[in-house]
Amino acid sequence: VLCSLHGLPLPSSGYSFHDIANVQIYMYTPRLYLQTMVQEQILSWYYGVWTLRGSSGNIQIFSIHSFYSTFLLLKMAVHGPFVKIHPVVLASIADSYERRNEGASRVIGTLLGTIDKHSVEVTNCFSVPHNESEDEVAVDMEFAKNMYELHKKVSPSEVIIGWYATGYDITEHSVLIHEYYSREAQNPIHLTVDTALQSNRMNIRAYASAQMGVPGKTVGVMFTPLTVKYVYYDTERIGVDLLQRTRASPTRTNGLTSDLAQVASAAGRIQEMLNTVLSYIEDVLSGKVMADNSVGRFLMDLVNKVPKISVEDFESMLNSNINDLLMVTYLANLTQAQIALNEKLVVL
């Protein structure tokens, strides 16, 4: 709940500040504190105290532990700190960014998913055409509604849970768009994906919005960051693993392997992992690395996983299994020969 603001100038309109020093800022309800928030600048946080410069120039001080009591209120207001994203969504976003119109610097779209008690799960998305210029922003709402209807026909359990935008910052236009989305869903999530790769990373962040400011007078919106987790279905995981192999090839392509090649590559992977473990053990034994008890326990588990069976028992099990498989193969071949024969006989 702590944040360090030393010397950082905030946007003077006070509409949004975000992700300062990668710490979550929990918001405060205006009716309890910060009555004179809007158009003020947070000067510094110092020894647990917020210092703010009021619009009239006076300096007010709020103590930070008053925020803790509103922590619980906050937890119920927002969905909870986790946003679970499926890789499909990110792939879609990347794809729609690549296909953006000429001159558009970013793309926006709707996020669909399911809401849980503790978290939000984003499972699908679609992009929405919009125009953005210096002073105005236009979003094709009809289109968004239509697409949502179409999507609902396929997966009726998905609801609008927010929207996404590519790009690094939250701009003023985002606030407007966010307002529109808050009409569609309660507490919409805002996801930003930095496709322009500023800071050499593709930063993926999620925000929830909250009101702040003086009730009755000017109010503003603050975006509080949420934790992003990536979740996969099992099959998705396997698909993503396959896709990751395209990174290795120079033409970014990858064929689908079959049969024994797959088993061979899986065996190769396990061998690599074993090598890593072995080198770690060597290091520990030679004293280069400190021994860690928990790792040692895992190693014990690993070694014990290979079942200790007497040789004859194992041989008999192995042989019976192999016999089964061979028999099935034989039958399959027999069937194939049979139908081929039948084919030829009919044609006669």
């Binding site: 792939a91 990347a94 119109n101 279905y233 099959t235 395209t246 396990i270 498989l325 139908i339």
Partner: protein
């Protein structure tokens, strides 16, 4: 469903003996993820999930760049218009610069049983309209076992001819000289990611945990094997029924031929006798009306069943070869000295 070449070389992808222009298929990573997700969310318990593939043809490749799912055929939504859904979807996608050209469709399958009349008809209508269209078969159960199982098929030109003429009798098929292996041809698939997607993959790898289930190396095989064999047995039963039908038809036909022959002979004899006696010969009767040949059973279903059986056998053989490999690995673990 595999081509003849694929049967001989199970490891290498089937060399294409396609007459048409498209020799390879290139799929975007996004499409793969979408197909997986669609089955995962909507496919549990129901038969198949289907959807449309979008993309375009470039040189000798068919590029599939996006896809969207089809809603299930719901019982309570009788007035649901599929065509309208499709049109609306494609129009909307065009607004966001997604390729809106139809290039095929995808379907999920259960243990590899997808060779059916329905599939044939759908694919035929697609291919009739768009020459290069393909059907992507996604096998979720095999994928869950460890590696993505996605295959692309297309009807051979010979089969297209036959479907066009709708002549499924034995003579028709004999003329076309088509066997169950020549019905579908498999097109090799390549997965391609754009640079941005690659960046995304790097990000994901950093942020997400290691997959803790390595299903590929699991030794438990009996369940899957049982299921496959059961389906295989059902099909073989159907096949034998068809064969019995055909056999009886052949027998009836030959019996009829014999009867015809006998009748003609008797006729001739009688005519000869009458002539010798000086009476006018009996009028020639229309033989075909008397001995109406039995209708030949349509052979298309038999072909389909044969193709399906072939597919099952292929899958079973792949599965057993993988399992043999795994068993040998387990043996190696048990005998560390060897």
């Amino acid at each position: 469903m595999a081509t003849m070449a694929a049967r001989k070389e199970p490891v290498a992808p089937a060399p294409c003996s396609l007459d048409s222009q498209v020799k390879r298929i290139q799929i975007d990573g996004l499409v793969v993820l979408k197909i997986i997700k669609h089955y995962q969310e909507e496919g549990q318990g129901s038969e198949v999930v289907q959807g449309v593939l979008l993309g375009l043809v470039v040189d000798d490749r068919l590029e599939i760049t996006n896809c969207f799912p089809f809603p299930q055929h719901t019982e309570d939504d009788a007035d649901f218009d599929e065509v309208q859904y499709q049109m609306e979807m494609m129009r909307s996608l065009r607004h966001v610069n997604i390729d809106h050209l139809h290039v095929g469709w995808y379907q999920s399958t259960y243990y590899g049983s997808f060779v059916s009349r329905a599939l044939l008809d759908s694919q035929f209508s697609y291919q009739h309209a768009i020459e290069e269209s393909v059907v992507l078969i996604y096998d979720p159960l095999k994928t869950a076992q460890g590696s993505l199982c996605l295959k692309a098929y297309r009807l051979t030109p010979k089969l297209m001819e036959i479907c066009k003429e709708k002549d499924f009798s034995p003579e028709g098929l004999k003329k076309a000289n088509i066997g169950y292996e020549h019905m579908f041809e498999e097109v090799p698939i390549v997965i391609k990611n754009s640079h941005l997607m690659n960046v995304l993959m790097w990000e994901l790898e950093e942020k997400s945990t290691m997959a803790d289930k390595h299903e590929l190396l699991s030794l438990s095989s009996s369940n899957h094997l049982e299921k496959s064999l059961q389906l295989l047995m059902d099909r073989v039963d159907e096949m034998s029924q068809e064969i019995v039908k055909y056999n009886s038809y052949c027998r009836n036909l030959s019996k009829q031929q014999q009867q015809k022959h006998q009748y003609l002979q008797r006729r001739q004899q009688e005519n000869a006798q009458r002539q010798s006696r000086g009476e006018p010969p009996l009028p020639e009767e229309d033989i075909s009306k008397m001995f109406k040949p039995p209708p030949p059973p349509p052979r298309m279903d038999t072909l389909l069943i044969a193709g399906q059986i072939n597919n099952y056998c292929q899958n079973v053989k792949e599965f057993t070869s993988q399992n043999l490999g795994k068993l040998f690995m387990a043996q190696a673990l048990q005998h560390p000295s060897s």
